[in-house]
């Protein structure tokens, strides 16, 4: 009978040059992702004045996460490749900024509260079993917060589902394929860290599909919206 690998982290050498090289980009992405989230929540606070205080609280959490991940890099003596990470988030960043200028709150929430949060949760979930002891502890704490952030967007979109539905579908069509392009860009680096692309994609789709379900989409709509992103993976 074929055996299941019990401890995937056992074969990783965190101090090897190969690992550290890949980590310099993945770590930078995580740091930049938290920075983007920080900025986005502050901007969202401007768009939803009644939730401003809560959004500022969320943004502060993202700032804390960022500092945690910077410590993870330092712990492995890795310098994060920030220019790479800025470019990595470029397209999503631009789409958020454009939507914000046009007052498209639903699109902004989809990008930050659904796509970026689900992406972060998936990446952290897949990373935790293969992380070094220091990063593992930090990431475990971060992921708990991220579920809360996901919840903010879900709740708002749920309360405004009827008016938001069409824009959500449109924003999904435009932005979900970008996630796959991003994922493909770092698949090799992630594999060196012991994170499999297919597991990342699946985990993302699980979080994302659940969020869409909580907001109010039925299972056929969820499948269709997911397929729009997944078809870019083929």
């Amino acid at each position: 009978m074929l055996q299941l690998e019990v401890n995937p982290a056992a074969s990783l050498d965190y101090s090897s040059e190969t690992y550290k090289d890949a980590y310099s980009r993945i770590n930078a992405i995580v740091i930049e992702g938290e920075q983007e989230a920080y900025d986005n929540y502050i901007q969202l606070g401007g768009m939803i004045p009644e939730s401003k205080d809560e959004l500022i609280k969320l943004s502060k959490m993202e700032r804390r996460h960022m500092k945690g991940f910077e410590a993870c890099g330092r712990n492995l003596s890795v310098t994060p490749d920030m220019p790479f990470a800025k470019e990595f988030f470029g397209e999503l960043h631009n789409n958020f900024q454009t939507a914000e200028k046009e007052g498209k709150l639903v699109t902004c929430l989809l990008i930050q509260s659904l796509i970026i949060e689900c992406f972060a949760i998936a990446a952290y979930n897949i990373y935790i079993p293969v992380a070094d002891a220091f990063a593992k502890k930090i990431t475990e704490n971060v992921v708990k917060d991220e579920y809360m952030h996901l919840n903010f967007g879900e709740e708002w979109l749920k309360a405004n589902f009827e008016t938001a539905k069409e824009e959500l579908q449109e924003a999904n069509r435009t932005n979900l394929p970008i996630v796959w392009t991003m994922l493909n860009q770092v698949a090799e680096d992630a594999a060196i860290l012991g994170m499999e692309k297919e597991a990342l994609v699946e985990d993302f789709m699980i979080q994302y599909g659940e969020a869409l379900g909580n907001i109010g989409f039925n299972f056929r709509e969820i499948a269709r919206m997911s397929a729009q992103g997944l078809s870019a993976m083929k």
């Binding site: 074929l2 690998e5 579920y147 699946e202 789709m205 699980i206 729009q228 997944l230 078809s231 993976m233």
Partner: protein, 342 residues
Amino acid sequence: MFGLIGHLTSLEHAKAFARDFGYDTLDDAGLDFWCSAPPQIMDDITVTSITGQKIHGKYVESFFLPEMLAMRRIKTATRKILNAMSHAQKNGIDITALGGFSSIIFENFKLENSPQVRNVTLDFERFTTGNTHTAYIICKQVEESADKLGIDLKKSSVAVIGATGDIGSAVCRWMDGRLDVADLLLVARNRDRLQELQSELGRGKIMELSTALPEADIIVWVASMAQSLQIDVEKLKKPCLIVDGGYPKNMGSTLKHPDIHVLSGGIVEHCLDIEWQIMNTAEFENPNRQLFACFAESMILEFEKWHTNFSWGRNQITIEKMEQIGGASKKHGFKPLDLSLT
């Protein structure tokens, strides 16, 4: 609420499924694509008992494909099953049956050691393999079909292929304790387990497949993994009843002889139409009423409000539990698929 975790039978089936459900963009997707697909609730199901009671359930598609095992993508296969279970639990399903390869994967790769799926701790009480009902139905199919064909069980040799498995060992217990067959021919790969079974039963002949088949009046095929199977029809007894409880089922199409009677094993027919769409993609003659007995087990558990993992672990199935689920099965209008229906 009950649940069914199912999967498609092959990559080809997955492509057809994508077309049927209107995902035309996905019909040329390869195995890698399905390896990344998340579990999804694909159907809302309503079942009415002959008692008039109505229950509701959901079908959870795991997107596991048998090719994942063939390609040795074990991690992927196990992840699919765990994610589907987590999905069922998060959706508040009280009792879910693990259909097809799901329970086999769970068992073989000891997934009971991995109850934590992200932020969900799996509560195994909410899941059932459905094997007790499957074993019961197979035994009833043997009993009823033998009678129809004029095969006297008390004078018959019954070969159980896959005898040491969860279903196989239960079938052996019933053949011994309830049907009192003349000879039990035990066939399986693991010799130690065969000897354990033989000593538990206090009877039975341990045999190789090739020597057991020509001696059997009745063959119960419950080997769990898909195997390439070459059976020489000429060497079988005439008449011979074969109950094909394996997965996937393909004997009916390969064994053609007027005195060889092949019956799809572990399938039940409900006396009323079931309200579902998903089974139209399965290969049943009457998809509104026919289904795998393991799936029906979760429905029966829901009807009876026995929200517990009725079938769990390996070789725990007793004759008493088979009678218990069998009684409830009958009460709610399920009956074993019989020869005339195939």
